[in-house]
């Protein structure tokens, strides 16, 4: 166990070193892809909280992402609020929005909650697309100023990379803490068996609303950062399709543990870049690849990897036993 811990720590350190030096080794374009990957990762982690931990399937994440982006864009462009305040407002505002929505929608159970969230993302997309006075309608909102803390401005791709990396690390640690806490255990108890959780004294309704609010908080922060990174937002980003892609990333990576979202997001965001030479076939292969991976590894890459490791170990043990005899 301690050896495993050491290896895990080493890998983490290596990853950190890699991340810190990344801006010096890759092109500006790849850096932008990395930034988008990290923003997507936050949304996938939000889905990990509500679906992976609490077991409530949600398609509203892209909608929340949009709410966060629009709050930041409107605050900075129209009301000239400072960027840091806008970021906080996006996170808290989206969390509050998710909590209120959760209070209404968690009267529904199981699949029906998931169906209702499809309605939520469609309604939000309709509002983004058409509510011209507030969201700019189909034109979207342009000229969002770069993120800044006081006079420190994050305009270049590299500085944004570090900014988002900090947010990603904070969110990852926070999620890990939740995962280990009694709140996280309550989430997982609800996922595994809601009635049993109730018997153990978990207030299911309230706990699910909290999980939904946390996922809203993550998406709001991700949306705000997205607005600052791209400096232009429109309704076409925040669609049902985007939500289902988050779900695909989570399921491909593995929804049981935190490394799952990391692996899933990195894989699905980076693969199209590495396989550019396939050109117009890339999305077709992407779709077929998703189907194939589900057949080969129904528990996701992390889950499948663990299983493979286990069976390999068992085999070795078996061989050792036979040798002893």
């Amino acid at each position: 166990m301690t050896l495993q811990r050491k290896i895990f720590g080493l890998v983490l350190l290596l990853l950190l070193a890699l991340a810190l030096t990344l801006p010096f080794t890759v092109s500006n374009y790849m850096l932008r892809v990395c930034n988008m990957t990290m923003i997507t990762y936050m949304c996938v982690v939000s889905l990990f909280v509500i679906f992976g931990m609490a077991g409530q399937i949600s398609f509203a994440q892209a909608g929340f992402w949009g709410v966060g982006a629009y709050i930041s864009a409107i605050l900075t462009v129209k009301l000239h609020v400072s960027a840091l305040v806008a970021l906080l407002a996006s996170g808290l505002g989206t969390a509050a929005f998710a909590a209120i929505l959760g209070l209404a929608l968690f009267r529904l159970h199981g699949h029906y909650f998931g169906f209702a969230t499809i309605g939520v993302v469609m309604i939000l997309n309709g509002l983004f697309q058409n509510w011209k006075p507030v969201t700019g309608g189909a034109d979207g909102i342009a000229n969002i100023p770069p993120f800044a803390i006081g006079s420190l401005e994050f305009a270049s791709e590299t500085s944004l990379f570090y900014l988002i990396a900090v947010a990603v690390i904070i969110i990852s640690i926070a999620t890990y803490v939740i995962y280990r806490s009694s709140l996280g255990r309550a989430f997982m108890a609800i996922r595994d068996n809601e009635i049993a959780a109730k018997c153990m004294g978990v207030n299911c309704y309230q706990t699910k609303v909290i999980a939904f609010a946390i996922s809203g908080l993550y998406c709001g922060i991700a949306g705000s950062l997205f607005a600052f990174v791209s400096s232009y937002i429109s309704a076409t980003s925040f669609t049902f399709m985007q939500s289902s892609l988050y779900l695909v990333m989570l399921m491909l990576g593995g929804y049981h543990s935190l490394p799952g979202p990391i692996v899933g997001t990195a894989l699905l965001m980076m693969l199209p870049e590495w396989f550019r030479f396939l050109q117009e076939y890339i999305l077709l292969i992407y779709g077929l690849g998703v189907m194939l991976l589900m057949v080969v590894m129904p528990d996701g890459l992390i889950g499948g990897g663990k299983q493979a490791l286990e069976s390999y170990r068992n085999k070795r043990k078996g061989v050792a036993n036979v040798a002893q005899k």
Partner: protein
Amino acid sequence: MVLQLIIASLAMGIVYGLVAMGFVLIWRAVGVVNFAQGDLLMAGAYVAFTLTELEGLPMPVALVACAAIMALVGVVFHFLTYWPLRKSWDMTVIISTIGASIALKEIATLVWGPAPLSVEPIIPGIARFASVSIEWQFLVTIVIAAALMGMIFYLLEKTYIGNILQATAQDQYAAELIGIPVVVATSMTFAISALITGIGGMLISPIFFVSTTMGGSPGLKAFAAVIIGGFGSVPGAIIGGIVVGVIDTFSGAYISSTYRDAIVFLCLILALLVRPQGIFGEKISDKV
């Protein structure tokens, strides 16, 4: 004006009903929500475009050929998305259908190109009854879709094949024990589902343009219809489809044409909160 709107909403509603029926058949047979249903509608529209506009087949022939091709697509779809995953958790099949949805869109783009295509109406022109004028296309849509629904209903309720499909849907294991080839039954269910959805796509293709993303909105609205009607109920799907069609068309005409999608889904959420099991659904209590 009102009568025209009623006919238009019936035409849209009955197509939503067809797609919703496609959802329900798969749900009942294998317990999976098929997120690629809208893309099967898109595939049907493209197949119909190829048969009528490019090959120049006469309408009835094209209709039958389109149905046959879509049934085949359904069988292939079944063996790619559901069959390898039949023993695993239902979420994996859902993810697989999302993958299939991406793949289907891309295949359509590769074969027919990204530009939207236009299709001639089955019967062009406008029918006049006294002071009311109605597009023939709407009437044709209603007649063909209703006939198709009637046939599927007859097939499911009155025939031997229907009994096999229903037995498989109720309990795959028991069906296998009494000698029903489950793989034939499930693939046939997928074939029927793809067939009616594809014909739905053929019927609405003259009303909208044929494009790779045309399945998105009708697919999700049909899904709303399934939920409003009651999950797992075939009559519920049809009634739900018509309800959604009426809400869709009338809110577009009287409230706001830009917010019509949002209004439909607002009604969906309200319907869920008031009556989660839908119009025809049965209340299922939680099981430990």
